[in-house]
């Protein structure tokens, strides 16, 4: 029997009104603008774009404001909005080789063409709270220096020349799309990369860390990490050719991993790949490590039973919107379900009691 329960409307409306008031906080304090969030909390904006899987800094900033800074809630808002947009097509694959790099470092080669460019990084800060930021302070202007023109080659290109690293041969297989078809196993690498680039940062980081600690170890070096903007081109049907339709900032990480060779492959370095919207370097490095761990089968490695090698485990639990949706639904009314559980336990207890009485009599 299904019993509809009504009567929550007024409570819900009032809860929403109070939520709006709490979101605003103390009205003596100036209200945050979307532009302030976009410009000054840009790494939060980047995370929301990456995991919301929609590149639009203003929308991500709005979502953060609406979600009171709860980034998973903000990602949820972006995902929901994304589903309302008609899709005009797919871009040509972006060329990260022509990236205008804000940052580009390699942990494997000190002197490399293009050099080690640190960019706006936290890496060498002392992680001491800066109380100057608590006061309104002028920001000193960042120094400039004459820049070299031309593109910065990928690090893997040098290793490729010696045949020491596996190639990523050109291929134009149309990729599967998990926003159109449900994610099913086995998942090829294109599908895994799509799932990983929008996966929860914390979950991906934890899995990547587990491979470093020994659960499916593959000993990764950061061959290259680059952050910068790349143009996006799309074929325009009305025109019959591809034009630039915009520009996105991406973080790309290529790992170089130990590989002793297998029956079919000589000893050479292998690669893991991470590419994420925005300046999101922790996520991109994590993605590259997990991508590499998931490639055990195609590289002929042993499955040692590590969580990061288990594609089904990784991909079905990496999406924080799916995870939070299922997790949080258990706090919503389950009165009828619970009523039947209650009946069942009472019945079992009655039966157990009757059995005991019977045994005692015997």
């Amino acid at each position: 029997m299904y019993v509809a329960v009504k009567g929550g409307e007024r409570a819900i409306e009032n809860a929403h009104a109070w939520l709006a008031e709490e979101r605003r906080g103390n009205t003596d304090i100036a209200e945050l603008s979307i532009a302030q969030i976009r410009e000054q909390l840009s790494l939060a904006v980047n995370r929301v774009m990456a995991e919301g899987s929609l590149y639009d800094p203003d929308l991500a900033a709005l979502a953060i404001k609406q979600a009171r800074g709860d980034l998973i809630e903000a990602i949820f808002l972006i995902r929901a909005y994304r589903t309302t947009l008609p899709r005009f097509g797919a871009s040509e694959p972006v060329d990260t080789g022509i990236m205008a790099c804000d940052r580009r470092i390699s942990a494997t080669f000190k002197d490399l063409p293009g050099g080690q460019v640190l960019g706006p990084t936290f890496d060498y800060t002392h992680r001491l709270l800066d109380f100057k930021l608590a006061a309104d302070g002028e920001v000193p202007k960042a120094p400039s220096r004459d820049a070299e023109t031309g593109t910065v080659p990928h690090v893997t290109e040098f290793l490729n020349r010696e045949g020491l690293i596996e190639e990523a041969p050109h291929d134009d297989t149309p990729p599967p799309d998990l926003t159109r078809e449900p994610l099913e196993m086995p998942a090829d690498r294109a599908l895994r990369l799509q799932a990983l680039t929008r996966a929860d940062e914390g979950f991906t980081l934890g899995l990547a860390y587990s491979t470093q600690r020994g659960y499916g170890r593959n000993h990764a070096f950061v061959g290259e990490l680059r952050i910068g903007s790349v143009p996006v081109e799309m074929d325009i049907p009305e025109l019959g050719f591809a034009v630039e339709i915009g520009e996105v900032i991406l973080t790309e990480c290529e790992t170089v991993n130990q590989f002793t060779g297998s029956k079919t492959k000589p000893p050479q370095f292998t690669r893991g790949y991470g590419l994420v919207f925005g300046q999101t370097e922790r996520k991109a490095i994590s993605m590259a490590l997990v991508d590499r761990a998931l490639r055990w089968e195609e590289l002929g490695e042993d499955n040692v039973g590590a969580p990061a090698q288990d594609a089904e485990f990784v991909l079905y639990h990496a999406d924080n919107i799916q995870a939070t949706g299922f997790l949080e639904h258990i706090k919503l009314p389950h009165y009828v379900d619970f009523q039947s559980e209650l009946e069942l336990v009472r019945k079992l207890r009655r039966e157990a009691g009757a059995l005991q009485v019977q045994e005692a009599a015997e």
Partner: protein, 137 residues
């Protein structure tokens, strides 16, 4: 079209309106907000995969003199899509060279300046390694 697609919000309108008063046109497709799936390649050069979507706005219009203008621009500004399509159509008229000088070139120069400023800041963070001489010989 690439320049118009990447222009900062409101910039094209400011440049165009400072130069001419907008001609009449009719919509072939009124401005429409949607998305494009951005693709990338595994290992930068391998098989393509879907990276995520970006918002875009498109429209198409025709001038009274018959020229058709299209625009596909990043973001959700219908006003910017309209002016981009208008410039695209006007670039097929006798006004082309005038608009190249007064709209497209300043737009390009402005964006090149912004890019150069970022590249110069990045260059200032490039590491200049030097080797310390050790006093052991």
């Amino acid at each position: 079209m690439g320049l118009l697609a990447k222009a900062p919000e409101g910039r094209v309108a400011a440049l165009l309106d400072a130069e001419i008063s907008r001609p009449a046109f009719t919509w072939l497709r009124a401005p429409e907000i949607g998305s494009t799936m951005v693709r990338a390649r595994a290992g930068a050069t391998g098989a393509p995969f879907n990276l995520g979507e970006m918002t875009i706005t498109r429209c198409a219009l025709t001038l009274e003199t018959g020229e058709v203008g299209h625009s596909y621009i990043q973001g959700r500004s219908k006003a910017d899509a309209e002016v981009a399509a208008l410039v695209d159509a006007l670039m097929q008229t006798a006004m082309a060279s005038r608009l190249r000088e007064t709209v497209l070139e300043p737009l390009e120069a402005g964006m090149a300046t912004m890019k150069a400023a970022r590249a110069a800041k990045a260059a200032a963070t490039k590491v200049d390694f030097f080797t310390m001489t050790r006093g052991e010989d």
